[in-house]
């Protein structure tokens, strides 16, 4: 019965145990760290049938019933996010161990698990203030992980990232305070119910608080105009951390779907879905900016950071389209883009290490060892992240585009998404030929000590792209049901508040 709290408790316990295990040496810490992530993956997969059976699983912490106590709600969307997070974390941690990133500073494993603790908490909580607390936990862990290792660029990007997120936290508190002051509750389900009976004199204030929340979540999701921190932070940090951060932007998207989707649903009267046009337009602008950013990037990791931004803005667009079909496509694309973006960061680190002094600079350079194999991997990843067939990104984007046709602004959405897709293919083709074909053959090839142990984590994260195509039918069935559940907010409210919405009125 405690399956809803286990994904939060396991990383917390892992973090504490790893802190104690420091005396037993790095090797034992590594074994414990990987073991705890595997336990987390097993636990989340074991919880899956339970969620499918009685959807959603509601867990009242301390036995206090909602809306008085804090509840954890595990539904299809949150369990899916937890599974993606733990799979991505396994890949990132694996690479951190083989590349010795965890040796370059204290407490890497501890912080890594505390980051998962914050992430899983944010995915499971059913309370707005509790969401704030879990945001702070995951942010504090991410600040330390971002700065892990050395580098002046890392300190500068870290400072910007910390300050902008602290401002975001303050805005979050202002929004939470306003909502509590007007509605007298912070439970997401109860908020949704209270908004459906809101007197029209209070509509303006609640609308402002809702948009303030959108700013906060948009900041996490790197939505225009709050995306400027992302390329710096992602390209300067170490590869495993950047890979894990691929899920951090998705937390913002998740929060928009969960909080705005539930509170300002069709039942919200005057405020029904008023946030959707904002998300759609901001997503379109972010996509344009991300594509230009990727095209003009002079450094490989910076370019990949912009491609991550492009995938996030595609998700924002499909959330903004606001239909069951678009949401289903968004969830499918979210699984794909998170795992592939994470793997691409790891691969870019291999390329940067292989090129020695030239690092990630996109200039003509001598060839390096093993470039055929690394080049093939780059080709596969580029196909996946540019959403070309036959890999999973194509199907995700196709679902989103099909859903967009019914939208009033279909022309604009289709033009922007397709053109940016074309431009990112051109960009990746240019980058690939610059690194692997147009090489300086007169110079000696670069010899870097990249051993075969670097590749399994990259392959592990890639394997999900073909797997998602092979199992596309059950996965789309799952995403379709999940999307229907997201739009059926009454079921969520009834499950959390344990009463039927009709009798309450």
């Amino acid at each position: 019965m405690h399956s809803a709290i286990l994904p939060i408790l396991i990383p917390l316990i892992a973090g504490i145990l790893l802190l104690l295990a420091k005396h037993f040496g790095l090797k034992n810490q590594r074994i414990l760290s990987v073991a705890m992530i595997i336990i987390l993956i097993v636990i989340s997969f074991l919880a899956l049938p339970q969620v499918l059976q009685n959807n959603p699983v509601v867990y009242a912490v301390g036995g206090w019933q909602a809306p008085f106590g804090i509840v954890l709600v595990m539904d299809r969307l949150s369990i899916l996010m937890i599974i993606i997070t733990s799979l991505l974390a396994l890949g990132a941690l694996w690479y951190a161990i083989v590349s010795d990133t965890d040796k370059r500073g204290a407490h890497f494993h501890v912080l890594f698990h505390l980051q998962l603790y914050g992430l899983n908490g944010a995915f499971l909580t059913g309370d707005l203030f509790n969401l704030f607390v879990f945001f702070e936990i995951l942010l504090l862990a991410s600040y330390s992980l971002l700065l892990h290792g050395e580098g002046n660029g890392r300190t500068k990007a870290g400072l910007h990232y910390v300050v902008i997120n602290l401002v975001g936290s303050t805005l979050f508190l202002f929004a939470v305070g306003t909502l509590y002051g007007i509605l007298g509750t912070l439970n997401i389900a109860d908020l949704a119910y209270k908004i459906s009976i809101l007197p029209s004199s209070d509509v303006g204030v609640v609308a402002a608080a809702g948009l303030l929340l959108l700013v906060v979540f948009g900041l996490k999701a790197a939505m225009f105009p709050f995306y400027l921190w992302l390329p710096g932070a992602y390209s300067k940090t170490s590869a495993p951390v950047a890979a894990l951060f691929a899920i951090m932007t998705k937390v913002g998207i998740y929060a928009i779907i969960r909080v705005h989707g539930t509170i300002f649903s069709d039942n919200a009267g005057e405020l029904a879905n008023y946030y959707a046009p904002w998300v759609l337009n901001a997503g379109l602008i972010t996509l344009i900016m991300a594509t230009f950013g990727a095209m003009s990037a002079k450094e490989l990791k910076n370019q990949i950071a912009y491609l991550v931004l492009a995938s996030v803005s595609t998700l924002l667009i499909s959330v903004g389209i606001h239909s069951v079909a678009a949401m289903s496509g968004a969830i499918y694309y979210m699984i794909h883009s998170t795992l592939i973006a994470g793997g691409f960061f790891l691969l870019s680190d291999i390329i940067v290490r292989s090129r020695g002094q030239i690092r990630g600079k996109l200039i003509k350079a001598p060839l390096f060892n093993n470039s055929v194999f690394i080049g093939s991997l780059f080709f596969l990843y580029a196909i996946a992240i540019a959403s070309m067939p036959p890999l999973s990104g194509f199907f995700g984007k196709l679902m989103i585009l099909f859903a967009a046709i019914d939208h009033p602004h279909a022309g604009m959405v289709l033009t922007v998404v397709l053109l940016s897709g074309l431009l990112s293919i051109v960009t990746l083709a240019k980058t690939g030929s610059q690194i692997f074909y147009d090489t300086d053959n007169s110079a000696e090839p670069i010899h870097a000590k990249i051993t075969n142990k670097y590749f399994p984590p990259v392959l592990f994260l890639f394997i999900f792209a073909p797997l998602m195509v092979i199992f596309a039918n059950p996965i789309t069935e799952f995403t379709q049901n999940t999307a229907e559940m997201i739009f059926n907010t009454n079921a969520y409210i009834e499950a959390v508040l344990n009463i039927s919405t009709e009798t309450r009125q």
Binding site: T155, K156, L159, G177
Partner: protein, 112 residues
């Protein structure tokens, strides 16, 4: 009393925003602190202002809303930890770059 409290929140927030937009880390940290003060008072005020009411629920029906107080306490603790972290980080940046500019590269003024 409402106007006074509203003015305090407004001044703290405005000063905080002004300081955050400065180019040196120390004013930025101060600005973040002021913003945190402003939001803490704001959260507290969201339980409505009461005079002569019990802070804790007892037999008397007259009591203030205890939830904002709990929220403010949590927010203060988190804000305190974050301020400590950002101060440590700006000290690290100062020792690395040799100056306290937010980008690590101060813009030289022509009039000096």
């Amino acid at each position: 009393m409402e106007i006074l409290l509203a003015l305090i929140i407004a001044v703290l927030t405005a000063a905080g925003i002004f300081l955050i937009l400065r180019a040196r880390t120390y004013p930025v940290v101060l600005g973040l602190t002021l913003l945190a003060y402003g939001v803490n008072i704001f959260l507290f005020a969201m339980g409505r202002l009461h005079i002569d009411k019990a802070a804790i629920l007892n037999n008397n029906a007259e009591y203030t809303d205890p939830l904002p107080q709990a929220l403010v306490l949590t927010a203060i603790v988190i804000g305190f930890a974050m301020t400590a972290f950002v101060i440590a980080l700006s000290l690290k940046a100062y020792s690395k770059f040799g100056n306290d500019h937010i980008n690590g590269t101060p813009v030289k003024r022509k009039d000096k």
